[in-house]
């Protein structure tokens, strides 16, 4: 279970951190509120999940890059708003379906997933609405959103790799995800990249602690203060 809790917990922790970087930079005041809301939900989930494994702060602040188990998708830099929304769409649809399965089961994550699935439904709704607005908005927003979907596509395959201790129907997850994302993307007048045969689909080894270069810088910023005062309480 520790492996699974770390994978899910790190996903939530890292995505929450990235969303937190938007504070004070969002395109409209309502999005300052919305993005912070999602970041807070994810941070709450991360804290619950990491606490299943050990001390939440030790895990967040004192592990090195190679020990983080999040998927590479969530660590990708924010980029423009379209890129953030594409990341949210890919991730939140996945998380919604996954937590739905976990909540319906009787495994160790059922209680937590049961609570979180409602939060995640909102995250998904938020991402889907913005995908529609950006895809079917202006020519510029359409182009940006398409580019974002294309660029991040390569990091989606990893979401469906098996994780030790996480008993889910991965085929259902993957098919449900592909159907749901395709539906929204097409309604938004956008196109999903061609699928597994692009090769990109198969990229990513975050669950094995292989990350992308920007992640190290993210961790440096996140951990610096904590590491500067060994043993201190805050």
């Amino acid at each position: 279970m520790a492996t699974a809790a770390l994978a899910l917990g790190d996903d939530a922790l890292v995505l929450s951190h990235r969303l937190g970087e938007w504070a004070g930079h969002a395109p409209v005041l309502e999005e300052e509120v919305a993005l912070a809301n999602i970041a807070l939900d994810l941070l709450g989930q991360a804290r619950s999940l990491l606490s299943l494994v050990g001390d939440e702060d030790e895990l967040a602040y004192l592990r090195e890059e190679r020990s983080f188990r999040n998927a590479q998708l969530v660590e990708q830099p924010n980029g423009d708003f379209a890129r953030t929304i594409a990341r949210q769409l890919y991730f939140s649809v996945h998380q919604h379906l996954l937590y739905g399965q976990l909540a319906a089961g009787d495994g160790p994550f059922a209680p937590l997933a049961g609570k979180a699935v409602k939060e995640v439904a909102y995250h998904r709704d938020h991402a889907e609405h913005w995908t529609l607005r950006l895809g079917d908005g202006t020519e510029e927003s359409h182009a940006r959103m398409q580019r974002a979907l294309d660029d991040l596509w390569r990091y989606t395959g990893e979401l469906f790799e098996p994780v030790e201790g996480l008993s889910v129907d991965r085929t259902a997850l993957r098919e449900g995800w592909l159907a749901a994302v395709t539906e929204v993307v097409e309604r938004a007048t956008l196109k999903l990249p061609d699928g597994p045969q692009t090769g990109a689909w198969t990229a990513g080894a975050g669950r094995q602690g292989i990350h992308t270069e920007p992640f190290g810088r993210m961790l440096a910023e996140m951990q610096h203060l904590h590491r500067s005062h060994p043993g201190a309480s805050w």
Binding site: L13, H17, G20, E21, A23, G24, H25, A26, P27, V28, L29, E30, E31, E32, V33, A36, N37, A39, L40, L43, G44, A46, R47, L50, E56, D57, A60, Y61, D80, F81, H129, W130, L132, R133, L134, D136, G137, T138, E140, S141, R144, E221, M222, H224, L225, H226, H229, G231, A232, S233, W234
Partner: protein, 308 residues
């Protein structure tokens, strides 16, 4: 003049003026200016604290800080809505902020240099804001007064969190204690300046008092704030950086040292440490977000739905 008499009587009777009521143009203009400045302060005020979200030293503190910055965005929303009830939209006000025609509180032109600054802002800056704002809950203009009730409630929460953050540092390691003291040293005087110039030099005060937009003078509120802070600083185990600070039995208040109004004027004039940075980041966020707002508007026009 019947309208004006009705208005005056309502104000005199401590009744609330509502958006559809008749009101003097100058009253409306004063309110719009004050509410806008307050709204601008909320959204610019997100920056110095957001500067530490990504470096918060524990996940609990990170959650608290994120929620606080989010609340400030929320306050901005209420306040722009309150201004809207007076006939001035958010876009117009933001435009005035970005072009420098409207101000925000000068306190946000100081940098947050350490984690303890987050605590000092909560304790002192939010504390000063509350002292200023509590009387506004009884302001004669209804929507503003109601927004202030909600805002003050959240801000006292923030103020307590700031105090608690500083307390943890003050009781922590030597380095943490020093960090807390340093933050208080840097934020104390700018916080006192938040109440505005001395009464003798305050320009808008008299009319605002008559209209019951304002209910206490700058100096009264400043004194109230000092009197609140002194015992709190003692409980924190921190020193306020003013050698002249002492209890005056006769006045029943604390005496305190002279404020450096030159610094205040410099910061107000745009020469503070972060004026360019704050307004620059605000403008950049707005400009870089233009295509997003346009997309939302275009989508709404096509699909007949409200924008984000």
């Amino acid at each position: 003049m019947a309208q004006e008499a009705v208005f005056d009587a309502a104000v005199a009777a401590d009744e609330r003026i509502e958006p559809r009521d008749w009101m003097p143009d100058a009253y409306r203009a004063t309110l719009v200016r004050q509410i806008a400045q307050h709204a601008h302060s909320e959204i610019i005020g997100m920056q110095p604290e957001a500067n530490w979200i990504t470096r918060a030293p524990s996940l609990r503190r990170k959650a608290i800080l994120m929620a606080k910055v989010q609340d400030e965005a929320g306050h901005g929303l209420y306040l722009y809505s309150a201004a809207e009830t007076l006939g001035t939209g958010r876009d117009e006000l933001l435009d005035k902020l970005h072009s420098g025609r409207q101000k925000y509180s000068s306190i946000f032109n100081y940098p947050t240099l350490t984690w303890a600054d987050v605590g000092a802002i909560g304790w002192l800056v939010d504390g000063a804001a509350i002292t200023n704002q509590v009387p506004l809950c009884r302001c004669s203009y209804g929507p503003y007064a109601r927004a202030m009730v909600r805002i003050c409630k959240e801000e006292s929460f923030h103020q307590r969190q700031g105090y608690e953050l500083l307390l943890a540092l003050s009781r922590g390691t030597e380095a943490q204690h020093a960090m807390a003291q340093d933050a208080v040293d840097r934020w104390w005087w700018p916080s006192l300046m938040m109440f505005g110039p001395p009464d003798a030099e305050s320009s808008h005060s008299a009319q605002s008092m008559a209209w019951k937009i304002k209910r206490h003078s700058n100096d009264e509120l400043r004194q109230r704030f000092v009197d609140i802070c002194v015992p709190q600083a003692a409980s924190l185990g921190l020193t306020l950086p003013d050698p002249d600070l002492r209890w005056n039995e006769e006045r029943g208040h604390h005496d305190f040292g002279a404020i450096d109004w030159t610094e205040f004027q410099e910061v107000l004039r745009g020469n503070g440490p972060c004026n360019d940075q704050r307004i620059g980041q605000r403008r950049r966020a707005h400009e870089e977000g233009a295509w997003v707002r346009e997309a939302a508007a275009a989508y709404a026009a096509k699909h007949g739905k409200a924008t984000a």
